[in-house]
Symmetry: D2
Subunit: 308 residues, 4 copies
Amino acid sequence: MDGSINFTPILEQVLDEVRPLTLQGKVANYIPELGHVDRNKLGIALYLPDGGTYTAGDAHERFSIQSISKVFTLIMAYRKLGDSLWQRVGREPSGNPFNSLIQLETDQGIPRNPFINAGALVVTDVLCSQYVNPHLAILEFIRQISGVEDINFNPRVARSEAQHGFRNAAMANFIKSFGNLKSPVENVLETYFRQCSIEMSCAELVSAAQLLVHYGTALGVSEALLTPSEVRRVASIMLTCGTYDAAGDFAFRIGLPAKSGVGGGILAVVPGRMALCVWSPALDAHGNSLAGSRALELFSGRTGFSIF
Amino acid sequence: MDGSINFTPILEQVLDEVRPLTLQGKVANYIPELGHVDRNKLGIALYLPDGGTYTAGDAHERFSIQSISKVFTLIMAYRKLGDSLWQRVGREPSGNPFNSLIQLETDQGIPRNPFINAGALVVTDVLCSQYVNPHLAILEFIRQISGVEDINFNPRVARSEAQHGFRNAAMANFIKSFGNLKSPVENVLETYFRQCSIEMSCAELVSAAQLLVHYGTALGVSEALLTPSEVRRVASIMLTCGTYDAAGDFAFRIGLPAKSGVGGGILAVVPGRMALCVWSPALDAHGNSLAGSRALELFSGRTGFSIF
Amino acid sequence: MDGSINFTPILEQVLDEVRPLTLQGKVANYIPELGHVDRNKLGIALYLPDGGTYTAGDAHERFSIQSISKVFTLIMAYRKLGDSLWQRVGREPSGNPFNSLIQLETDQGIPRNPFINAGALVVTDVLCSQYVNPHLAILEFIRQISGVEDINFNPRVARSEAQHGFRNAAMANFIKSFGNLKSPVENVLETYFRQCSIEMSCAELVSAAQLLVHYGTALGVSEALLTPSEVRRVASIMLTCGTYDAAGDFAFRIGLPAKSGVGGGILAVVPGRMALCVWSPALDAHGNSLAGSRALELFSGRTGFSIF
Amino acid sequence: MDGSINFTPILEQVLDEVRPLTLQGKVANYIPELGHVDRNKLGIALYLPDGGTYTAGDAHERFSIQSISKVFTLIMAYRKLGDSLWQRVGREPSGNPFNSLIQLETDQGIPRNPFINAGALVVTDVLCSQYVNPHLAILEFIRQISGVEDINFNPRVARSEAQHGFRNAAMANFIKSFGNLKSPVENVLETYFRQCSIEMSCAELVSAAQLLVHYGTALGVSEALLTPSEVRRVASIMLTCGTYDAAGDFAFRIGLPAKSGVGGGILAVVPGRMALCVWSPALDAHGNSLAGSRALELFSGRTGFSIF
């Protein structure tokens, strides 16, 4: 299947079919700001290297990207440290809920992968060591690779995360006790809560993901930011670890490397072939967008973009 | 990269480069029969849909396929039960060593996936319910899809496994205590130990794997044995769960769906594109062939067969 | 409080108060033979070194002693091996349900204590190494120390345990895989299921417990079977490990070293001071007799026999 | 054995025998202030209700009481909440190292017992709810029951604990995430670090322990602070949970309810009979004073104060 097809009707058809699912599941409400989001929101955007961007539904409305930010901070840290990054965070699926402290204890403070919260905190700590203002560096990087200048934090969301972030504070302190956080716990947490509060639309997320689609070359950036091999490795971690403890099921049903966030967004990328982002706020029991997962499954089944 | 290339020199080059690694690692010796295998053995075979089979080294010498048999029994059980199979075994990476009983306790007797021992025992139990002589049915199926009539069990290996198989016996009894084994524990174990003792060569394994390369159509079998969608799903489980608790690292470094066995074989498959089998008896700490893993990594890096 | 008091009215009063609790809880029914027991049964027997034996209710009716047998096999193995026994089984509370395999994996096949099933299997294995007919040796020992010649196994219960004993079979095989069972798994399990099926009355159990009350000297046996120090040690294990994962609560509420069984019996012993046995078949969530626990608590509170 | 004996020679004899052990083990050094303590220090003090106080060695030199403070805060919280305290903290041995987060996750933020760090944090949180200046209230309580006016915190130790207390901070945040801390995490931690830094001598600790020896009546306090039943319950928790994950072994070898601290002190109490405190800074692998444990064992073996 190639770029000469008009994908807009396919995307619209997919949205129509999954719309009833937006009534099921649960909008994340551990902080009030997320709980207020309208569960009827539903958007999708597709980027193809030779066909441009297709959108449907609320594809241009911004939402809290939450854990999708972990893809961007991983790329930033990977660029800075190269493969020595893997001395501080693993690349294995965790087999446990995303905020589990159990494995961290067994593994002596080395998180299983960069997409569980523990691993993302270590990645953020790397950025805290590399940048004077790490949260601004993250924002600038995302603005640069997406080509959208007014992407920003939501300070109320960031503050609210900080006020309710006892589990993340526990994790950061625990990792620190093993010596695997270098910056003060408070700084790492503050940066982390800010990166999670960034708001982007589906269309903006697939723009940013061009960096992975084009094997390391971002939109409007002259030099390559990652090598093709590094891009493949990021994609492999998305496939095996990107959707919490449902990654195996995601690979099985959908067959696309993807990263989800509790804001209801899911960003899927196949290097060389496509980026796809879907948004629907209500979540399944694993914390992945319910309608969004199904949309990805329908799209993948119909278009043959599965990597398998 | 396509089938018009002669891949034999590439395979030979890869073997030459990894040969020093055959001196490292540890040949499995939990049963004497496996421990006696010559650690210098090294073979590789490649099947391409439009280019036939290429081999190098000891590609035609048979070895104990061990856990690679789990791919074949999974296919057989999946054919029989369809997606209802997943009520009895999961599809998630385990995040724990391959013989762990811990998750089994937490998960009430439902193994995480069909490629850890616990899951393979449940799959074998399905076959025990479906066939009068399940071990013969397994053998016949492998003979059929590979087109090799004299593939057989190694009865000494099977007997030795039974004599030292206390961990598997523990697991089978434990699963039975949760009601997730239907046949008598002894029958399931006997069938399981036999399937693990089957001996095949790299060349024979890629022949058998044509079933997956051709999206469900086996060598010399008229009807499709699996649907393309089912083949993709088997491949996704191989990618996320096929190499014990190193599956994430395997996906990261190699990018190929694969299943390894403690006999030192690794079978990798990309549906529609290729099957690759490598054999070198010495294992790394995770139980995967050390030189074999590196051979897959070199081959994948040079040929672009990675799925990412 | 001393032996010149007539304790019979106190025992009767305690039974009257706890009788309503016999309607609550659940009679063990994992094997049919246990499930058929009348939940209205309620008996108690007290032995005092200077006052003889007092009984009330169904104190002379036999029931399945089940895990109370672990006290007797522990004494037998301790006599044979002395403190080298503790190389094969620990003396720490497990903090987990009584049939957990998790700690066994972490602890490399060394069970936490002799009163969880895993530990009792190791203790029984010790007896299998020491006696040609270990089950007969156990029976003979219990007959000897209690002075009751016709105590016996219930073969139907033993057979039924064997038919439903997958969890115990899992544990025995698991321990064997770590090398901490010396005899064949089948022999150990058969002996274990038989010892659990022994039937005794409350009165007979306090007779047998004289061995502990008199610091090692059993009823009608001339030589000392244990040293006073060994008796204290058995009592300490009863206190910290004798009532599954409710041992801390038992010590807190009752303050008596005790061992319970799923047949509804609980045997409590304070060396030098008393032995007390209560029987009521319905169990609480931890597997301890519900009315029996409360009877011990009332008795302990009123008489000052608590060790604290 | 009664109070008319002069126990001083026995204590001196015990110290002489265990003195060689002070060269083994490891002085706690996770904070510099503890690491500087002289490992040759060795003291013991005994209080008997009818015989007064006996001392030997460095019994009058103060040391960091660390976790022994948990006994005093438990008594304070128990007085305030009564048995409703047990809704927020359990009474079961943990079966895991003293700072484990694993069980906390399984048990939804309810620590197993008040003597592991997690449980002590909850107890301290109770005091934070009850007192405006909880750390001063704790100090005042200890001064009152020991009758020593100049007992005090060591502010350098408290500050150092705070600077290195990431594991405790992780635990406090984790418990807070389950809703089982009411006060701000910072306040609870600050109070906790202060209470651990209190310095007392062996002689002062047995003075304070008179409260437990006399079943609730403290030195020079007219009203009873606990009921006899509450005192027994505190003692039972000391026995089953007071020495980290070696409590079973402690009960087995020593047979005395006891609470140890990483400062090298161990306080043992038998209500109605005695209080014994020993101090030697070097610790065994479980975090209990090595020479101190052995001293308790020798003393218990020779005097018959074991509760079993």
